[in-house]
Amino acid sequence: MKKIDVEQKEIQALYGRLDKEAEASGYHLNPDEEFAKDLVRSLLINEKRYGYWACPCRLASGVKDDDLDIICPCDYRDADLTEHGSCYCALYVSQDVLEGKKAVGSIPERRPSAEERQKREGGAPSVAVSSLSLPVWRCRVCGYLCARDGPPEICPVCKAKKERFERFL
């Protein structure tokens, strides 16, 4: 696979956008700007390579449906922020890390193995909710819930795209 080049101004633009969006929703980019920008560069490389922002620190399959859970921000970010103070690749960090109260490091992988992921597929909502006037959709990334005919185009909280929503109720 050939090396992909990314221009500095593309990195700067995306870094600025992600930083703004994160701060507006209570998330934070890694204050180590050089480290964070390297990861933003990697997201841009993966966008050109796969067509989506596959996590820079995970091996993408290249099949979007199989990689949905690791498209940045990944399904595991928020749980890792709570438990470890950063997401897996450490693009995002917690308030404690931002304030220097906690250090970031390499953390264990939360993503289940391919076999475990396959087993989890197809779990339809089990609660009887026939009385609800609308279905409830859940953002797998940040947990945002909304009751409407279909999920929103983009999560208003974490900016994850429509395909990251699941039927919750």
Binding site: D38, L39, C57, R58, L59, G105, I107, P108, E109
Partner: protein, 93 residues
């Protein structure tokens, strides 16, 4: 697998499974460079088809969930993740 060789002091066979895009893999490569040890690495995301599948299979022996970086020393022990203290200990520096 076509691994890239980095010259340095011989501290046994040090092999790194990495991703070209990963920040922790970059830090691991930098650490090994700073320690001045000879090592080999492979950026698994730059492999294709059969080569990629083979690298993943080999990697699973050391890191069942194929987490990056995975450092293998003398084909007998491994360090998964960027953990400077554990890497130094495993190499014996």
């Amino acid at each position: 697998m076509k691994a890239t060789h980095v010259k340095g002091k011989d501290r046994g066979h040090i092999f790194l499974f990495a991703l070209s895009t990963c920040g922790w893999c970059r830090k691991t490569k930098r650490l090994l460079q700073n320690l001045g040890v000879a090592y080999e690495y492979i950026d698994v995301d730059l492999l294709k088809g059969k080569e990629k599948t083979e690298a993943e299979k080999e990697m699973r022996r050391w890191s069942p969930r194929t987490s990056f970086p995975t450092l293998v020393i003398n084909d007998e022990k491994s360090v998964v993740g960027f953990d400077e203290a554990r890497i130094r200990e495993a190499i014996g520096i």
